[in-house]
Symmetry: C2
Subunit: 457 residues, 2 copies
């Protein structure tokens, strides 16, 4: 521990050191705020890129490329000269000595810590379902889902050639939240609009999509009229919605709903989320409490109990407001990250001002979920109040998502892809990568293995 | 075997049936020619997409996305109503009964067969080198190479943080053909031009690239003055070229040249190619001969011995012309595919004309290899004769490659990416997908494993 560079992370420093763990919406918002302040920032992530999760389902359904919605973290914070990017995994957090242990063995000292590592899928203890019904959180998940959906059509076409018939193409999406609704609508779109001319023997329009939602309503966070409108729009796209449907088993080729067997050529998981395991690491500090999904319970300044120098932001934070939990979506994550950044700025510069700082309050501008081409629902709260659905909501959804996408190049690229896809009904990026062989319906539910020396035949 | 659809592949047919195996340049050219004729065509490939291989190195070096240079086969031949696409693997070819056995168990009958399955890497019997030094033939190869190159920089940055120094960033490219030269130049480009502002502690400009070529000259197919110009341009980009360098061992972290150990943070393979294993399947027919690389020796009508209804095209074919072998690159492949298509058209329609048809002759318009930004060599034969190098050759290279790229959308997308990358020196698509962890220098030389449930930290 002697070099000038180590000093930066582990030695004595005149300026306060802030470590941000996680480069999602919350982490990046904090980094952008702190980039302008007189502190030293280290942004730590296991991946080299930020993923714009709201558009991930479009990568899964072959409308966009991974590169359109992901951006290298280094280039996002390139102009923040006080910010360091470290690509590594966190193994432990010592809140007494204020150190973060990373996998390479270094112990990084912090004066302030922002923990924003988000959430991951929850299979409610049935981890064996994960291989059969992949969820959608990362770019890798998206390409895996794409592979399975496209291979299901290829398999049906080949079976038609071999036997003159094929098992019904029924795609099952478990979970009727925004991701489930988006995935279901997008599968229906590609089957009805984009792939019809690609196959000679199967009629891709006969593909069915089924949403299985455990609660009585899809899109639980939306007002009842928008929930109803969403179901109507889904039905129009040929998507069937079954609510109060309790999935009891997930197997290759089918799903059990109670005692009923539901055939599925491809099952996708959009049901449960749980907090990132980093919450548990933090909870080793006495006093820090987690809720039942593993989220860290924080006060109105986003601090866990007794740790005013630690901030938990985004999906990993359990923040109560007006008796309700702030939802785990992009908007509150960005607002929390920004708040934590501002608060650290005040704590460092002016403790009086910091003492007078207002607590965090989520400013809810509304919510929107897209359903398919020209179909969406939007609960708008700001700048005006309205519940919108259909084409207008869809246009608004497109505008907002292009606007918030990180990186000008990505914005341009997504805009172009949408113009092609939605207006001209042109090809998306329907590439199957990873395992290309068509082993049979059952084995479709296996993760892809990338083989070296793939021979192109 | 009774359905109307099976009839198409295995029953009696009034029209001649043509099976094309492989949807590379040769296979697609044949398909496009045959799409206009009164025959039934089946295009068989193990992948669902055609890969524009000349630009694959740009995917590997993060300038382009996989979707930019690959196109679903179904959509390429969508308007050829006589053409069927089957995604499957070939297990056997029975040239007596004229059947192709595919993995799903079907035996497809042909009247004419076009075999165009190209080539794959050859490690000269050292298949254990494949995992350490990946080659570049498929989209999966390209993303794997990208992962390793980008991780090498990340690793160096982290080592700098931990220890204040890092092992020299020396990238070794084995093989000085067009692919090796392109890879080497592109690595140097991203290190010198695009990544300099991304890292705080390492100076990416200090990265070195070394080409190890076994023969006395790089770009063996080019005239001596262009070879010399290529070396000069490579040196200007900071690439060192060692010719007559015989690689005796490839290990994680180093390469042996004779008895000398050459350190390597990342080794790439661009040395040998061998024919696709389908050549061996065909060679089970008595009389069919292979050359030492496994290519099928064909006559001047592209037929193997005694098989006038079988055509071998592209890299898999060994065609002699003026005492020299026609090279295994895109241009002759396209010309062979087109020739085979035209010849089948004549054989079906008019045997007199077929008997008078001129033998295949490769019309060599020239060759070009890009070296880096604003650097290339071009041996132009048609429409004018010239040996060009530098900026002019590079502009010509860009123009030709955009022009020949399959699909309008791809052309637009590549054009946009190049404008960003080469003019603005903006970010490419520097995403690391697959395994994201940084295990250490040695383990870098492991294929990526995609893990389900990747937790984003």
């Amino acid at each position: 521990m002697s070099s000038a560079i180590q000093q930066r992370l582990t030695g004595e420093r005149p300026r306060a050191r802030v470590i941000i763990i996680g480069a999602g919406f919350a982490g990046l918002s904090a980094a952008q705020r702190l980039g302008k302040l007189a502190v030293d920032v280290t942004l730590l992530d296991r991946k080299n890129h930020h993923t714009f999760q709201p558009l991930l389902y479009q990568v899964a359904l072959a409308v966009l490329s991974p590169g359109d919605i992901a951006q290298p973290i280094r280039s996002i914070v390139r102009n923040n000269s006080n910010t360091e990017v470290v690509m590594d995994e966190v193994l432990g957090i010592d809140t007494v000595k204020r150190r973060v242990h990373i996998k390479s063995g270094v112990e990084m000292i912090y004066d302030y810590l922002i923990l924003a590592t988000g959430s991951t899928h929850s299979y409610f203890g049935k981890s064996e379902w994960a291989a059969i019904a992949p969820g959608l959180k990362t770019v890798e998940d998206a390409t895996e889902i794409r592979r399975r959906v496209l291979l299901a059509f290829e398999l049906a076409e080949r079976q038609m050639l071999e036997t003159g018939s094929h098992p019904p193409l029924q795609f099952v999406v478990i979970g009727g939240g925004p991701t489930g609704v988006e995935l279901a609508g997008a599968i229906s779109d590609i089957a009805r609009l984009y792939m019809t001319r690609d196959f000679r023997h199967i009629d891709t329009k006969t593909a069915k999509v089924l949403i299985l939602e455990g609660s009585p309503h899809v899109l639980a966070a939306y007002p009842p009229d928008l929930q109803k409108s969403a179901v109507r729009q889904l039905n129009k796209l040929g998507v069937t919605v079954r609510t109060s449907a309790h999935v009891t088993d997930v197997q290759p080729g089918y799903v059990m709903v109670g005692d009923e067997r539901v055939d599925s050529c491809c099952t996708l998981w959009a049901a449960g989320v749980q907090a990132s395991p980093l919450g548990k690491l933090l909870a080793q500090t006495p006093g820090v409490e987690l809720d039942k999904r593993g989220c860290v319970i924080v006060n109105q300044y986003l601090n866990p109990k007794n740790l005013p120098e630690v901030f938990v932001c985004g999906d990993l934070a359990h923040v109560e407001q007006d008796g309700k939990q702030v939802p785990g979506v992009a908007q509150p994550a960005m607002q929390m990250g920004d708040y934590a950044g501002r608060r650290i700025g005040l704590l460092v510069a002016d403790s009086d001002k910091a003492a007078r700082m207002k607590p965090f309050r989520y400013f809810d501008k509304g919510d929107m979920a897209t359903i398919g081409r020209k179909a969406a629902v939007a609960r708008v709260v700001w700048p005006f109040k309205a519940n919108l659905s259909g084409f207008i909501a869809w246009m608004m959804w497109m505008f907002v998502h292009i606007y918030f996408l990180v990186g000008f190049r990505n914005r341009l690229s997504v805009f172009r892809s949408w113009a092609f896809t939605y207006i001209q009904l042109q090809d998306g990026v329907r590439l199957i990568v990873g395992s290309q062989t068509l082993p049979g319906w059952d084995e479709l539910a296996q993760p892809a293995t990338t083989t070296q020396n793939d021979v192109q035949i």
